[in-house]
């Protein structure tokens, strides 16, 4: 989990300030975009299985909706903070803008630990969260999606509660639903595949065949697993993955120098992405400390776990061979570490671009729900690839043209688009 002294929102604001400078934004626009348009704090009372009552705290933040309804996940995490949710909502605004989909940015969270809640209790949390926020959300207002420790099942409970309250069928209220219940084929794979679409394009720019590269991945959840899957399909070799160990309450890295076997690891992984270390050892994996993933002698690093993982404290441990960092997670790199990475001229694929596959596919899901006509998986993934590749090309072209860092280029495009929308609407 992130360092407690770290404040994600301050980091997001610092990033924004830097880009506002590059874009020379006027003060009113800066003030508008530096903060959220709206944020809601809610209390969710739940009767627990043992008959007791517990009140959970929840949030929903709508950072900006000038380009379309707010869009963003809902996280269940015991260490959740409003500042993390604020930061993530802002990043969602930029993310939707950089891939040019007509949505704004939002995020939600509930302070809870699903590991210690029964399914019934989790359902009550979901329904309670929606009951508190249903007036302020909807398919044309704010559209939630799964995020840390929430799944398609949680989305379906939330949708059901929302439709009950509204008295009509509104499948576009939420995305990440199960396939066959308004979900889109390809949604599960979208974020991880999207990360690799951008890595593939970066490798083309660097003129390196994927087959000659190796990678190390932080995390073994949904994003990491599908990123590994596609990266291996294009003949890349993953030598190390790390994950959180629920029992030991720490993370470990699992290394196999001749390449990990994805299917084998999936077979010994729990539903939260935790790998069984005893079984991994039997299968010939070296069990290393959690941070070891960062120190590997590889060409590509894929942080695909949580925010603030590459920091000033550990950035020096990144090996000399590393040429690309693709941020599968949101905000995994602190500003200090980012500056060091930029200085080392490592090709950075920033989070708002690298992991935008998820929200892009969520947008496709909404489109399909609104039409009530669902596309084949290859159609979804084909559109996703083109969208991601076009976004990468635009960012990379701007970075080269203006001689700026990839993250700055992505922000310049994204913030520029949102600022333009605010101006066009006459807000500032």
């Amino acid at each position: 989990m992130a360092d407690k002294s770290f404040n994600a929102f301050e980091m997001a604001q610092a990033q924004f300030d830097r880009v506002a400078g590059l874009l020379d934004l006027d003060e009113a626009t800066r003030q508008l975009l530096r903060y959220n348009l709206r944020e809601y704090h809610v209390s969710i009372p739940v009767r627990m299985d043992d008959g007791s009552h517990k009140v959970f705290r929840g949030f929903r933040v709508q950072h900006n909706d000038a380009r379309g309804p707010a869009k963003g996940g809902i996280r269940f995490h015991p260490m959740e903070t409003i500042d993390t949710v604020r930061a993530l909502a802002m990043w969602m605004t930029w993310k939707c803008a950089v891939v040019d989909i007509p949505l704004g940015g939002g995020k939600g969270g509930v302070i809870c630990d699903p590991h210690h809640l029964s399914m019934r209790e989790q359902e009550q949390v979901c329904r309670g969260w929606v009951r508190q926020l249903s007036k302020n959300m909807g398919p044309l207002t704010d559209v939630p999606a799964p995020d840390v420790m929430t799944s398609a099942q949680h989305m379906l409970w939330m949708l059901d509660e929302f439709e009950t309250i509204r008295g009509e069928k509104l499948p576009g209220f939420i995305t990440g639903k199960p396939v066959g219940m308004g979900g889109s084929l390809g949604r599960t794979e979208a974020t991880g595949f999207g990360v690799v679409f951008t890595i593939r394009e970066a490798l083309k720019e660097l003129n390196i065949p994927p087959s000659e590269t190796t990678a190390s991945v932080q995390g073994f959840g949904n994003v990491a697993q599908y990123a590994i899957d596609l990266y291996q399909q294009i003949w890349g070799k993953v030598v190390c993955v790390s994950c959180w160990d629920q029992t030991d309450q720490t993370s470990y890295s699992f290394r196999k120098k001749n390449g990990i076997d994805l299917a084998e690891l999936r077979g010994i992984t729990d539903r939260f992405g935790g790998i069984d270390k005893a079984k991994a050892k039997e299968l010939g994996y070296e069990i290393l400390p959690g941070e070891a993933w960062l120190e590997q002698d590889v060409d590509i690093l894929i942080p695909a776990a949580l925010e603030n993982q590459i920091t000033a404290a550990n950035v020096k441990k990144i090996g000399d061979r590393v040429k690309i960092i693709a941020e599968g997670a949101n905000g995994p790199t602190s500003p200090e570490a980012d500056a060091a990475i930029a200085k080392r001229k490592i090709f950075m694929i920033p989070d708002l671009l690298a992991n935008a596959g998820g929200v892009t596919c969520s947008y496709f899901e909404q489109v399909q729900c609104n039409m009530n006509y669902f596309w084949e998986k290859d159609e979804v993934l084909g559109k996703l690839d083109v969208k991601m590749t076009s976004a990468f090309a635009a960012v990379s072209e701007l970075a080269k043209k203006r001689g700026i860092y990839m993250r700055d280029a992505a922000y310049v495009i994204a913030v520029g688009r949102v600022a333009r929308a605010c101006k066009d609407r006459g807000w500032v």
Binding site: S211, L230, Q233, I234, G382, L384
Partner: protein, 585 residues
């Protein structure tokens, strides 16, 4: 872990870069596997075509391989694996069930982005052709064993264009496991499991004429001519041309045949009326108009076949036809006069509006040199609508052509006699066989042309066990084998008769048919050294039906019978004279 494979000639090609048409490279690939036979053949000749032919016949003719991208075999493997298609693929289920299962599957994620990018730029028809791994094996061409599907790709939205292209690729993938392909595999002693499919996505050569898109000329050039006419020598090769898509030549067997060395010499028609009778009357085109009924498992979903008179409205036969003048019983070059048209390509071949024969001679020589073997080349040409030239010559395919070289001398006197079961002076192939003891034949007394599809099914039932038992057999039928017109003969595909070592097609007084040169089976016939007899009912020599009916039958169907002889037949064919005879004990 998947195994990574490289084609020897892929190195010279570029990766697909999402700029399909404007890209500097018009010959690209997607994936990391093999190119497959067709694409490999093209890759081998690409360099020399660019260097030697691009401008050699300019400005009259520009020669090029139409823009294409190859989806390599590893993506086929991934498609099969990710969608768990192996069970249905090897189940032996009906073709339509296999095809439907493949349609429901998803193409690999590595491929779909590139396909999507392709259809977002391209709005002209695309052909999806098979390019399988086994097609790559020299001397074992898999001509037309697998499907080719064309899509108009002119729908206004990219989503639909993408879907149609994806459906076409899945259909071609599925055709790897269709019954005819499976039978073919058995006949060639291959296991279907060894087969891997690459596909070529290629711009269709042609132009749009109203609701139709087609080339002015489609053609096949072969190194060896089994029917040389006049001064022509077999080694000088033969070319066949048709108006519209090449399906007319390959599947319908209708074409204008000529020697590139003597383009002015007509095929040996008995009379001008005979010429009129055998000329091309219909043509295939891509349907650019109203969307047809949705049928993704139909190879010709987006194709239309129209009468030649439609081409006259399109203005496309102007440089390709002559006119029959009934009053004079003569043929006049061009279409100025009124009268039935004969698609004989006279303005080009005789008046020299285009140096096509010269180009074909040169291509034949170059391709033979490149492949170190006799070749078969498929091409298509689009003409300038007004002046014929400049024309675009699209080089579509090259593959080796196998011709038996063993010498068999057969005197005319040997064609008749007591021991002669049948003989002909129109035989394809060359060589002698003395191992055939099985005969499958369609009895003229039980033949009903209206039931030709049922006859085809009966033949297929007989073919299977004989293939299984590895007993090559003599197949005798009435009408044209492999016709697409059920009234013109027996509409089998090659897989249904794949165990036949000797094939005989015979006519009846009420059932005229054309010879098979250039037909769908030609390449298979020559490659497997199948001896192919054509016997007209009015020929001097014929079939001794009486002897055949006296033999004990192992199996009797409604239309066909199988005979198993105690002593093998002796089959002799003199490839140079085209004479052949089958002798019984």
């Amino acid at each position: 872990m998947r195994k990574r494979i490289y084609s020897p000639h892929r190195g010279s090609l570029a990766r697909f870069d999402r700029q399909f048409l404007s890209s500097a490279s018009r010959f690209t690939y997607i994936g990391s596997g093999e190119l497959g036979g067709k694409a490999h053949g093209l890759a081998r000749v690409k360099g020399i075509l660019d260097a030697k032919f691009r401008n050699a016949f300019a400005p009259a003719v520009e020669v090029a391989i139409p823009s294409l991208t190859v989806v390599t075999t590893d993506l086929f493997d991934l498609f099969m694996k990710e969608n768990d298609l192996f069970e249905i693929a090897y189940s032996g289920e009906r073709d339509d069930l296999v095809a439907h299962a493949f349609q429901r599957a998803s193409l690999p994620v590595q491929l779909v982005g590139d396909l999507r990018a392709l259809v977002e730029q391209v709005h002209t028809p695309l052909a999806v052709r098979s390019s399988s791994l086994l097609e790559d094996a020299m001397f074992e061409p898999f001509a037309s064993v697998y499907a080719t599907k064309m899509v108009p790709n002119n729908q206004p939205d990219a989503d639909t264009r993408f879907r149609k292209l994806a459906e076409a690729i899945k259909f071609v993938y599925a055709s790897t496991f269709f019954r005819s392909a499976r039978n073919y595999m058995k006949a060639t002693h291959h296991a279907t499991i060894d087969e891997k499919m690459a596909v070529i996505v290629q711009e269709v050569v042609g132009a749009r004429f109203g609701d139709r898109f087609y080339p002015h000329i489609s053609g096949v050039l072969r190194s060896y001519n089994f029917y040389p006419v006049g001064y022509a020598k077999p080694e000088e090769g033969v070319a066949e041309l048709a108006l519209g898509l090449g399906r007319t030549i390959v599947d319908d067997g209708v074409a204008w045949s000529f020697s590139p060395s003597y383009p002015r010499i007509d095929p040996p028609f008995k009379s001008t009326r005979d010429m009129l009778k055998h000329t091309q009357t219909r043509l295939w085109a891509v349907n650019m108009g109203k969307p047809p009924e949705y049928d993704p498992i139909n190879e010709t979903e987006y194709l239309v076949q129209v009468g030649i008179e439609e081409a006259e409205y399109d203005g496309t036969i102007r440089h390709l036809a002559s006119t029959y003048i009934p009053a004079d019983d003569a043929v006049e070059m061009g279409i100025e006069a009124r009268g039935p048209r004969i698609v004989d390509f006279s303005p080009i071949l005789k008046a020299g509006l285009l140096p096509l024969p010269e180009l074909l001679r040169s291509l034949k020589e170059t391709c033979e040199e490149m492949l170190g073997a006799m070749v078969e080349v498929e091409f298509a040409v689009t003409l300038d609508r007004e002046r014929c030239a400049p024309a675009s010559f699209g080089f579509l395919q090259v593959r080796p052509m196998v011709v038996s070289t063993a010498a068999v001398d057969l005197d005319e006197n040997e064609l008749a006699g007591e021991r002669v079961l049948l003989s002909s002076e129109t035989v394809l192939g060359n060589g002698a066989l003395d191992t055939i003891r099985d005969i499958v034949y369609v009895d003229p007394d039980r033949f009903d042309v209206m039931k030709s599809r049922e006859i085809a099914a009966e033949i297929e039932r007989l073919n299977g066990p004989l293939v299984e038992a590895r007993r090559p057999y003599l197949l005798i039928g009435l009408g044209r084998w492999g016709t697409t017109d059920p009234l013109g003969g027996i509409p089998v595909d090659f897989g249904q008769i794949s165990g036949a070592a000797v094939i005989v097609e015979a006519s009846l007084p009420n059932l005229a048919f054309t010879l098979s040169q250039g037909s769908h089976f030609f390449h298979n016939v020559t490659s497997f050294k199948i001896l192919y007899f054509s016997i007209r009912h009015h020929d001097e020599h014929g079939i001794d039906w009486g002897w055949l009916r006296r033999q004990e039958r192992r199996w009797d169907g409604a239309f066909a019978s199988r005979v198993e002889l105690a002593a093998p037949l002796l089959v002799k064919v003199d490839g140079r004279s085209g004479r052949g005879v089958i002798l019984h004990d």
